[in-house]
Symmetry: C2
Subunit: 350 residues, 2 copies
Amino acid sequence: MTLAILFGGSSYEHEISIVSAITLKKVLKRIAPVFIFVDGERDFYLIEADRMKSKTFSSGEYKKSKRLTLEKGGFFSSSGGLLGGKKKPVAFDVLLNLIHGRDGEDGKVAGLMEFFGIPFLGPRLEASVLSYSKLDTKLLAEALGITTLEYRVLRRGGERRVDLAYPLIVKPVHLGSSIGVSVVRSDAELDYALDVAFEFDDQVLIEPFVEGIVEYNLAGCKTSAWELSLIEEPQKEEFLDFDKKYMDFSRDSRVREAVLDEGLKERLEDAFRMIYDPLFLGSLIRCDFFVVDGVIHLNEINPIPGSMANYLFEDFEGLLERLAASLPRESRIPIDYRYIDSIQKAKGKA
Amino acid sequence: MTLAILFGGSSYEHEISIVSAITLKKVLKRIAPVFIFVDGERDFYLIEADRMKSKTFSSGEYKKSKRLTLEKGGFFSSSGGLLGGKKKPVAFDVLLNLIHGRDGEDGKVAGLMEFFGIPFLGPRLEASVLSYSKLDTKLLAEALGITTLEYRVLRRGGERRVDLAYPLIVKPVHLGSSIGVSVVRSDAELDYALDVAFEFDDQVLIEPFVEGIVEYNLAGCKTSAWELSLIEEPQKEEFLDFDKKYMDFSRDSRVREAVLDEGLKERLEDAFRMIYDPLFLGSLIRCDFFVVDGVIHLNEINPIPGSMANYLFEDFEGLLERLAASLPRESRIPIDYRYIDSIQKAKGKA
């Protein structure tokens, strides 16, 4: 299988996506991917494997790489020249969407790939939108009967008071990787935290911040069968700030399994399966759960986890291959002009 | 203002979109749009205004028109020749997304336009996804405190029994224009209706079918102020089948305003505004409401109504111009490689 890894994007998590891609290059032994970079201007570049170093991007050197265009059926390079030159497709079987945040997780990449007919690993359009918005994620969980923490939503320019007790956690509705997130303990702190969060988003989600809450992360996908990762209890500071999260995205060594009783493990896995199927078919996602008084709460769905949560799986490369072999396909819609023909006939025009 | 109208698409409503576009050509007096057609293979064509007749498409003649490519900043034609030739942009200020159903309403066009930086009238990504799925629409309405009819969801290959009393209405979750919709009165009819609906979708929504239910349609958008249409009480047969709906998409004459008391009118308008703002900014939508025992129920959101519901507005052309002048803009995300730089420094590499 030839895998294309699409990374970068016009996103606050642009750099994190680069780190993710470099990490995958290290992790993948059998699969030798081709790397397609989307820069901040949304231009595409084919990056040679030996140039997959952070400096290539931060220095702007990537601009010397081959420019690509996205068209029906794939990505193409041109031989250059005044008139554009002859087009050559980039050869790959399936593309891995590794753009974190905007462009990758908001549904744009899913839309582009589906429209241009490129098979891809990653959340489809509806799955992207529902997991990109922390608010839509709550509605989804509710519809599935999965509890989430209590919450309020504030809008930029609107009311700033909330009827929840401190401490609270303030989050932009549409960002990941802890960007713009604050824990606050007073009205003054809340006000400042809202200023920060509204820098990134028009809507802000506010939840109780529960000290010492127990968190469990579980990743997986459905191929010909369910493939769930081990369950990790992430070591937590108050919460991961951007720098720490950044390092987190370059993880490539396996973690220790959380010690938890069999009943809870099963309930976490059941919740994962309910969330995943059918919405997330075709993607490898990580769900982050809280457990409060024995009750499972969905905290977040990561439809494109950092470095694809490779560190949670025994056979990560095999998993990608099996997932690539079981992608959902768009149905083909026949266009037969039956109705136009019949109307023309009725009008005596045909 | 030069308007580009994008129509067609790989959609069960492909033909309806053609009818919509032809109708708009008739309706628009001041604005002379350019027409960009997406065929069933998702190839783009520039259709000259005098060829905007249904026959151009049903006969396949459209293939003689100029082929276009979609790239950063717009649509381009090439002068032809072996090497592709020089590219020429199609000149327009703003694009109207008039693709009904898949591609247009599922979020793909929104994703394409945002990614390639093309200003457009139509639902953004999140708005598309939430209105394209009748199930997500229910969740959205619930979150806003707007009632909807009771419902059940069935999945292809799953359980076929429902605990609701007949008559019921069976709808594919993701289609518009009454495609695959049936009213059923017995288990046998339900079974057959499910076979039909599952032809079009993996998920099917089932609701009570309320005979003689009162329906009100209200369209509008937010420009520098709210611009709401008159409220129509559509003349109903049991429900519109595809043929009738098809004719419905070519409507170009104004309708009579529904007679309803001022209180109900205000409540319908309030519900519309709650649904629209901020999710649907940039689009002109039509909301279809039921009123049962004085309670407003949201039935459906049409994020791209047939022929843009032109017949509901006094000054439709002015409305399009004012909407084009008040589009939401994607925020620009600065990419500064601050984190990569700081990590390289920490590692002594910079």
